[in-house]
Symmetry: C2
Amino acid sequence: MRDRLTRLVALTRLVTARPGDQPGLQQLAQRLGVAKSTLSEDLAVVRQGLRDAGLGDIVTQVGAAGGIRFEPAVDQEAAREAVRRLCRELEDPERQMGNGFIYMTDLLFDPALLEPLGGLLGEQLRPLDPRHVITVETKGIPLALAVARHLGLTVVLLRRDHRLSEGSSLSINYLSGSSHRIQSMSLARRAPLRHARVVFVDDFLKAGGTARAAGDLVAEFGAEMVGVGVLVATTQPTPKLVQGLYACLEWDESRGVQPAPWVVRRLGRPENAGGSGP
Amino acid sequence: MRDRLTRLVALTRLVTARPGDQPGLQQLAQRLGVAKSTLSEDLAVVRQGLRDAGLGDIVTQVGAAGGIRFEPAVDQEAAREAVRRLCRELEDPERQMGNGFIYMTDLLFDPALLEPLGGLLGEQLRPLDPRHVITVETKGIPLALAVARHLGLTVVLLRRDHRLSEGSSLSINYLSGSSHRIQSMSLARRAPLRHARVVFVDDFLKAGGTARAAGDLVAEFGAEMVGVGVLVATTQPTPKLVQGLYACLEWDESRGVQPAPWVVRRLGRPENAGGSGP
C-alpha cells in the first residue's frame, strides 16, 4: 500500500512538472517500474485528484506522438494573492516616478507573482489555440515565458535592434503611444514562426502601438496574431489599436490600479486590491 | 481510501508547483479540509515519494515564518535529454552564422530545454547560498528565471541603457571580449539588492568581461557576486575573468560543442552529445 502511495506522489510530480512535456505511457511505466495497466489505474487517480482540487487536468493523446499532457488550471488562491499584492505594490507612492512611469521591473522578475498571473492569462488565451507566444524585449519576457509554460509553448522573441548573432532579419518602424517616439523591432528570418497562430504578451499597454507593430511584423512571416495579454493596461486611450486584449490590471489616472473586470469575474474581487472605491 | 489517494495527488501538486512558495501547514490543512495531524502524515508520504524517485525534498521551516518548502532535484532524464538536444542543435551547420556566432535565440526561449538546464545550474549554485539571481538583458533572461525558480529566488535585471521607467541608476562601462567594444550596463538605484549574495546567469561567456562588470556593478550596492552560471562557455581564452563559473556546455573551435566535465560527472556522458571523438 505504502508503495502505491509514494508511487502516486512521484507520478503526480512527473506528470505536472513541465506542462509542455508529453511523456509516453511506456516511458512513465518504465521509470516507475510498473506494468502499463497499473500505470493507467494510477493515472486515473492522478487525474481525479487534480480535477477534484481544481488544479488541472490530464489529457491523453493517442497516435504515434501519443502520450499524456498536463493542462494546469489557474491556482485561484495564488492568483488572487498575486493580484492583491501587485495592486498594493503599484499604488505605493515610492514607485511613482513623477514622469508618468511606475517602477515595476523588480515585480516583473518575481516568479511568485508571474507564475499565477501567467496562468490567468494563459487560461484566457488557450481557446485561441496559439502555437507560440511572442514578446518584444525586455520587460515582458518573464510574463511571456510564464504564459508559454502554462500552455506548453515556446516564446519567439522580437528584438529592438538587429543583432549580429541572429543573421538577416525583418524590421518594422512604428510610433509608440507611450513614448511618442518612432521605435523599431526586428525578427530573425530564421525564427521558427511560419504560418502559426501566435499571441503577443507584454508587461504594459497604452494605445497598443507596440502590440499592433508586432502583429504586422509576424504577418510578414505568414503568422497571425490572434490575441494579446498584458499585465497592466491604461484605461485611456480607448479604443485600443488591437483586438482580443486581456489585461490583468487596469490603470486609470483618477481611479488608480484595479483588477480588470474579467479578472474580478474569474477570481472575485480581491480585498485591498487597490482603487479608492468603498 | 480513494479520498486519501486523490488528496495525496492534490497535496503533491500544491507543494511542488512553485518551489519559491512556502505554504503554511494551517493554510494547506484548510485547503484540503483535513486536520493538521492528517496533513503531517500525508506530507511524510509526499516527502518519501519525492525522495524515493529522486525528484526532490521537502524542508520544514519552523518559527513565525514557518511552513514547508519544496527543493526540487534535477530531473536527470530531462537534463540528459536537454543536453543531448542542445549539443545536436548547436552543431547544426544551419545555425553557424559564419561570423563566429551561433543562432540560438529560439533555443534560449524554449522552456522544455531551459527548465532542466536551469535546474542543473541551480543545483550547483545552491550551496553558494545566493539571495538573488542577476542577469543582463536580453538572451540570458529565460535561463536566469529558470535558475531562480529552481532556487525559489527572484531575478534582478541589469539593463543595457538607462531607462526613464527606472529612475536614477548606476552605470558601468567595460570592454566586452566577445564584441571587442565598449559596452555599458546599469542598475536602478531602487533595485532590491542591498548587501545580498548573488549569482550571475547568462547564455554565453567568452572571457567573462560582462560577468565581471556585473559583479563590479552590484558591488556598488553592497552585494557580492559569489558564482556564475551560463549555458555555453568557450574553452578559450583561459583563465576566465570570474571565479566560480559553471557552464553547461563548452564550445571549442576544434572539438565543437560538448557537455562540460561537471555535467558529464553529474549525468553521465549523453549519447550523441556532439564532439567528434570516438
